[in-house]
């Protein structure tokens, strides 16, 4: 198996065993993408919570029209956001310490996550579940359009970055599992 060019391996003639594993593992592209998508989605959820709920107070903590299903989905998403941030950060740190992080895929995944959460929040939470609206007391349509357009742009950015990242790595030998 070919190995990426790295510092010369010191000769160790007296060592009893050769571990034979790749000492500098090749980047784990898919894992890099997924882990950073998790971080992106959780970060977007946190931004939503901090900016729109806390700072602007546009969203309401609890909308009277909230159904039980929406409440459940909201509780799950909120907890998943917190745990996702923690888990994502540590998974990322693990990729880095093993030198298995592919930066290009990581960025692609991050934007993917940002866009997916924004779109999910805009379409499922705000419109389908009607958990809360972006703002109250005004015509909400332009806000909805801007919200979902922002999500679509982020998602498109993520896709473009992913295509570029996979093109870049195509020439390299595949990593054996």
């Amino acid at each position: 198996m070919s190995r990426p060019a790295g510092p010369a391996r010191p000769a160790r003639p007296g060592k009893p065993r050769d571990l034979g594993e790749p000492l500098r593992p090749q980047p784990q592209t898919r894992r890099s993408l997924l882990v950073c998508a998790l971080i992106g989605a959780a970060a977007m959820a946190a931004v939503d919570e901090i900016v729109f709920h806390q700072i602007l107070s546009w969203h309401h903590f609890y909308d009277r029209s909230t159904t039980e299903v929406s409440l459940l989905s909201d509780g799950l998403l909120h907890t998943a956001e917190l745990l996702g941030l923690v888990a994502g950060f540590f998974l990322y740190a693990d990729l880095r310490r093993r030198r298995a992080l592919s930066t290009a895929h990581a960025w692609a995944g991050f934007f993917f996550g940002l866009g997916i959460f924004q779109l999910f929040d805009g379409i499922v939470d705000h419109k389908l579940l009607r958990l809360h609206q972006i703002r109250y007391g005004v015509d909400v349509t332009p806000y909805d359009l801007a919200w979902n357009a922002a999500g679509a742009v982020l998602l498109a950015t993520g896709s473009a970055l992913a295509v570029r990242a996979y093109r870049r790595t195509r020439g390299r030998p595949r990593r054996t599992p």
Binding site: G6, P7, R9, P10, R12, K15, D18, L19, E21, L23, R24, F61, Y62, R64, T66, L71, L72, D74, G75, L76, H78, T79, A80, L82, L83, V86, A87, F89, F90, A93, D94, R97, R98, R99
Partner: protein, 275 residues
Amino acid sequence: MTPAHVHPAPFGAGVVGPVVAVAVLLVAAAYLLAAARLRHRGDRWPWPRDVSFTAGSAAVLWAVVGSLPGEPFTAHSAQHLTVAMAAPLLLVLARPLTLALRALPPCRARRALLAVLHARPAQWLMFPPLAALLDVGGLWALYRTPLFAAADEPVVHALVQAHTLAAGLLFTFAVCQLDPVRRRWGTALRGATLLAAGAAHAVLAKSLYATPPPGTAFTTADLRTGAQLMYYGGDLVEVGLALTLAVRWYVAGNRLAAGRGLALPRRGVVQTAKE
């Protein structure tokens, strides 16, 4: 319902308060003595654990005998957060069981402790989803049945408090799994349990924002402040639990690599085996 009827403040009024206070102080003193004994014989026992245990004990003490700020329901929320969530995390992080097993000489007490730990019911209780069910299920029962209104009775109140603390300790113990127990559960199961329990807690807090516990009459503002305190305070403790899990997972990865004779790559130096 009179305000005094809703709010039995301070919470440990009557005989219960002093008894709990003495018990908490005794447990804390025993922990510190055991830690000192370990250090005296030359064992390592990191001091942050002493700090954590002391802080956890102080939190329980404060919530039981002190008077908490705010209106009745807000004060109740603060007490719930302290007794059922924050204090258990602080106490469990101090690894009290590890300390007990190391400090006790091979005597009857130590054997009894091990026998209890290894008993089948204890093993079942330490199954993370069951521990979570007992903890969060008890909470739902408290707020969504007439139990909350009945907890005005000092005895019922003390029992509810004791259950919250015990269930909180059990849940934190099972999810963090810091102490040596025979049956170990994987990070994924414990993480999923934490997610489910956190979601149930968040849903309950949000529903309390809109609907008070049956049979109570709190003002709307009080109810809303209390519910939000429960929601965001719960988040803080959940993040603490998640960090505990994540740090353990990360460090275990280091150990795994070291155990296979593979040091993790550092600063571009290629290493083959443990130096």
